[in-house]
């Protein structure tokens, strides 16, 4: 394939009317990355032979999970009717945890492709981002992807989309990222429908940071959209939220590899390198201006990242604590939303209390710690932020059950979310039952099409951080999708349930739950632990308690015999290897008092569903 535009427009000298900035709104695995790859090929910025599947998703974890965590921007040339245009495709994160980053990416664009799998229809996450895009007044180009699939039903989903955004089902583009079918028409449509950026080229420079990425060699790479004015190499720039100034070492555009340019003009999208080593010095949403000639007012919409979910991370091997600290320090450089502070657990030893944007963020960070730093970790049950007011009118902020005040409590305030669930209509009852059991209140219910329903619930965040999503998926055979947005707080009757092993409280298992669920939580947890903790040389009672009151009880009987195998024909090697294996297993145990608790018990007890002991 050859690029249609023979000569790409030069950055910093491109007329604002020839610029098109757009992003792609899509659900995980609806084929966003594959479609982006096809555009890179078709516009000629990436040659076929260097094409790596899903070029834009750089990190291995992202590629494995098929989700884009960090967005980037790519400049692509495209010609229509003899005129050449510069298309900037801004890749947005697809997940609810990163909704702030999504909103900043949207703010950098004038248009959005609404990409929907032609075999699956729109999902809750897409819907949420679509609302965001409409809020930003973006021009929406609806696209059905994967039309090559046998199960594709473009007509049905085109109608669904037309109903949602208005317009004619026939205006919904049909493409296949896999085969490339329809992609050129899509690019034409971007040029035709997405408005050129507006902005004042003569005003003081204002560039909005929509992403900030840490690179081990180059330091922080900041992606910006020039809203007004322009920036040039070797200028001194200033961050408007902090006033901090930096030397501009490099300015350029990605297509898709970074290429230095003579600057960035109004409406353009590109990157800045200043040599700073920490993404916190270059925050998403912040405004970059020219130090010599600063703008008076920053762009609106900047917010500090706010962790919503907290979890304790502990190395299995206590001596790994310094490694964990170093690893977190490193990850922090590339992740402005990650916060942590040292924490000590009686059961788990030294670790860190970490704050995350949401559950996926938590999962990604623990996974990176495991993979990139080779750390074996236990993550405690996720918790949200409670404001607890004691009778003495002291307000205690609780991000960890162990901080829960012991005395009399006046009231407890918990965060609440507005959740949107999309599912086939047959599952409405099941979903409502689940939400109802999680203290949800129904806010609305709409039919998107004949058989698909949008259900809106108000739910306590604490009720969905634990295992809500797993339950939702299993009860709807995976058909339901969920999106939520934290919206306000409410007073709630909550208690702390403690778990005791041999009379000793295991702080890692404590949880803050609604008073009505305390009993069932206690019974469930004690039962799970009974199955997960191997029998010890002595009897181990397991108790669940609220304050001093025991609400559930189980007992692990003492082990009386381990394998008394015959040493068959003098096969000592086999026996020794069994011993070595057992010793290895013991290393993965945490001592709680005298009780050996396998790591699996922590993980499984803190996860959802029924657990079963694995063999012997």
């Amino acid at each position: 394939m050859s690029p249609r535009a023979a000569t790409p427009l030069e950055p910093a000298r491109t007329d604002i009317s020839a610029i098109r900035n757009f992003c792609i709104i899509a659900h995980i695995d609806h084929g966003k990355s594959t479609l982006a790859d096809r555009m890179l090929q078709l516009t000629g910025v990436v040659e076929e032979r260097v094409m790596r599947a899903q070029y834009l998703d750089r990190m291995d974890i992202e590629r494995e999970r098929g989700i884009t965590i960090k967005s980037q921007a790519v400049r692509m040339p495209w010609a229509v009717d003899g005129s050449t245009y510069a298309l900037n495709m801004i890749d947005t994160p697809g997940h609810v945890d990163f909704s702030y980053e999504v909103s900043r990416s949207l703010a950098a664009c004038e248009g959005a492709l609404l990409l929907v799998d032609a075999a699956q229809g729109i999902e809750a996450q897409t819907l949420a981002n679509l609302y965001l895009a409409l809020e930003h007044d973006l021009e929406i180009i609806p696209v059905l992807n994967k039309i090559d699939l046998p199960a594709a039903d473009p007509q049905k989903y085109a109608e669904e989309i037309a109903k949602l955004i208005g317009g004619d089902p026939d205006d919904v583009l049909r493409v296949s990222g896999k085969t490339g079918e329809g992609v050129d028409a899509l690019l034409d449509r971007v040029v035709r429908d997405v408005p050129a950026p507006k902005g004042d080229p003569d005003a003081a420079a204002r560039a909005m940071i929509f992403d900030s990425v840490y690179d081990a060699y180059r330091g922080v790479i900041t992606f910006v959209r020039m809203m007004d004015g322009s920036l040039e190499p070797r200028e001194k720039i200033q961050m408007m939220s902090t006033g901090a100034t930096h030397e501009l070492l490099e300015i350029g555009v990605s297509s898709p590899e970074p290429a230095p340019t003579k600057g960035l003009g109004t409406g353009e999208v590109g990157y800045l390198i200043t040599g700073v080593k920490d993404v916190r010095q270059s925050k998403v949403g912040d405004t970059v201006t020219n130090h010599r000639k600063p703008a008076d007012v920053a762009l609106t919409g900047y917010e500090e990242p706010k962790p919503m979910v907290f979890s304790g991370l502990y190395p299995i091997d206590g001596s790994d604590y310094p490694v964990l600290r170093e690893a977190l320090d490193k990850l922090k450089l590339s992740d402005a939303a990650l916060v942590y502070e040292p924490e000590t657990s009686v059961a788990l030893g030294f670790g860190f209390r970490c704050g995350f944007l949401g559950l996926l963020h938590l999962e990604i960070i623990s996974e990176r710690l495991r993979r990139e730093f080779n750390l074996d970790l236990i993550a405690t049950a996720p918790s949200v932020v409670y404001e607890v007011q004691t009778e003495e009118k002291n307000i205690v902020t609780v991000t960890n059950p162990s901080e829960f005040p012991t005395g009399k409590i006046d009231k407890i305030i918990e965060p609440v979310v507005n959740a949107t669930l999309l599912a086939p209509k047959d599952y409405v009852g099941t979903i409502m039952e689940l939400c109802q059991s999680r203290r949800g209140s129904l806010e609305g219910l709409d039919y998107l099409s004949e058989d698909r329903v949008e259900i809106r619930y108000r739910l306590p965040l604490g009720e969905i951080v634990f295992d809500f999503f797993d339950h939702l998926k299993s009860r709807t055979q995976g058909y339901a999708s969920l999106d939520y947005e934290v919206e306000g707080t409410q007073e709630a009757d909550l208690v702390k349930v403690d778990i005791l092993l041999q009379g000793e409280q295991v702080d890692a298992f404590s949880a803050i739950v609604h008073r009505d669920s305390a009993y069932s939580y206690g019974v469930l947890m004690a039962g799970k632990l009974k199955d997960l903790i191997p029998r010890q040389q002595f009897e181990v009672p397991i108790q669940a308690a609220v304050g001093a009151r025991i609400i559930a009880r189980e007992n692990i009987r003492a082990i009386r015999k381990d394998v008394l195998a015959k040493c068959y024909g003098g096969d000592i090697s086999r026996k020794r290897k069994l011993l070595e294996k057992q010793k290895e297993g013991k290393k993965r145990m945490k001592m709680v008092g005298r009780v050996e608790v396998p790591q699996e018990a922590f993980i499984a007890a803190l996860s959802t569903g029924e657990s079963k002991k694995e063999g012997k």
Partner: protein
């Protein structure tokens, strides 16, 4: 079938490193002869044994000829490291050694005598199924130099024997034990406890029957359901009840009580004997002596080198025919591993493990094990780690804490 441990490749000629011969004079030399044949395969068995149908091409008739070739090889290999000396113990195990005619077993023993020499007070044992020998066979073995026979009694209760696929009539056991006594062979019986469906009373019946036989030696092994056996499959399918660990513990304790009362003392977790009748061949495994294991899948140990032969009789026969070493793989144990093995092995025997073998952590663990009632306090004060009755039942755990 239990997976053989991995190991290092062994040289084709089976040559041993010189250091394996160091200190050989201070160690006993034993010979184990594996006879890999059974009439039927029992549902619980994962030993290296084959029925006639499973053999395919190899013949029982020529087996002793093959074993004699390996014996010659053993002589050469030990000769090279100055470790040839008369043997203290010989043990024929299987399989069912007595599926071979007694003349074959005697011929093999004669081969060992002419190759290495046999010490005057040597212990020469064969295993036997109660229904695979009669008094005439036993007399031939005695005349050929055997001193001891170990009968696979397993149980005295018919339904337990059936579950174990044992074909003999329980009434046959006292007959063969008496016959052994008349021929002058010392007898031992092997029992299995914890068979699915076996009650504590069933077990008491078997123990009482065994004690009634008045042999000098009794072994009692907990039934271990090994992966890949028919029994494991049946338990998984639910046609056979699973084995209950706690019941097995009760059974072990009952065995110790009844056997002790009848004058048998434990000398290894699964073995009891009257005074002086401990199996020296068995103890050799636990005390780090040298032995050469002959036959398919047989394990050997000489001076910190452990090796094992190829498993299948056909593979074995082919190696022997080409005059190649039948060794499949081996391990050269370093000092640390040898120390670990001593702890593993010697804490299972009555004479115990010298405390000095342990490192600082292990010594501290001894105190905790005494407090937990798993290690005998008096023996520990005397410098040896000896497990208590509870400690024997939790031997794996004791070892784990000590290493």
């Amino acid at each position: 079938m239990a997976k053989l441990p991995d190991g290092d490749p062994a040289p084709a000629d089976g040559r041993l490193p010189a250091r394996a011969g160091t200190g050989a004079d201070d160690r006993d030399l034993g010979v184990y002869v594996h006879v890999p044949y059974c009439r039927v395969r029992c549902g619980y068995c994962d030993f290296n044994t084959y029925t006639a149908e499973e053999l395919g091409g190899t013949s029982r008739k020529e087996y002793i000829d093959e074993a004699l070739v390996e014996l010659e090889l053993a002589r050469s290999r030990l000769g090279e490291i100055d470790a040839v000396r008369p043997v203290s113990t010989v043990f024929f195990g299987g399989g069912t050694p007595t599926l071979l005619p007694p003349e074959d077993l005697v011929r093999m023993l004669a081969g060992i005598r002419s190759t290495f020499g046999i010490l005057p007070d040597a212990e020469i044992t064969t295993e036997a199924n109660p229904d695979s020998v009669d008094e005439r066979d036993l007399a031939k073995l005695r005349d050929g130099g055997f001193t001891r026979v170990s009968f696979g009694m397993q149980s005295a209760v018919p339904h337990v024997l059936r579950t174990l696929d044992r074909t003999h009539d329980p009434k046959r056991v006292p007959e063969v034990v008496a016959a052994a006594g008349r021929t002058g062979l010392e007898a031992s019986v092997d029992l299995i406890y914890g068979t699915p469906g076996e009650s504590l009373d069933d077990w008491r019946t078997s123990l009482e029957a065994a004690i009634e036989l008045d042999t000098a030696h009794v072994s009692a092994y907990a039934l271990i359901v090994e992966d890949g056996t028919a029994m494991a499959r049946n338990i998984r399918r639910g046609t056979v009840p699973p084995v209950d660990d706690d019941l097995q513990a009760d059974m072990y304790e009952l065995a110790d009580v009844l056997l002790s009362a009848a004058g048998y003392d434990w000398y290894e977790v699964s073995n009891w004997s009257k005074s002086g009748a401990e199996s020296r061949h068995n103890l050799a495994y636990w005390t780090g002596q040298d032995w050469w294991g002959i036959g398919p899948g047989a394990h050997s140990h000489v001076g910190g080198v452990r090796w094992w032969n190829v498993k299948h009789p056909a593979a074995y026969a082919s190696r022997i025919e080409q005059r190649l070493s039948p060794v499949m793989a081996r391990e050269l144990l370093d000092d640390e591993t040898r120390r670990t093995e001593r702890i593993l092995l010697e804490t299972r025997i009555r004479s115990g493990l010298p405390v000095g073998v342990l490192e600082a952590d292990g010594r501290r663990a001894v105190a905790e094990l005494i407090a937990a009632g798993l290690v005998d306090a008096e023996a520990a004060l005397g410098g040896r780690v000896v497990p208590t009755l509870r400690g024997r039942l939790l031997a794996d755990r004791v070892v784990r804490d000590l290493t």
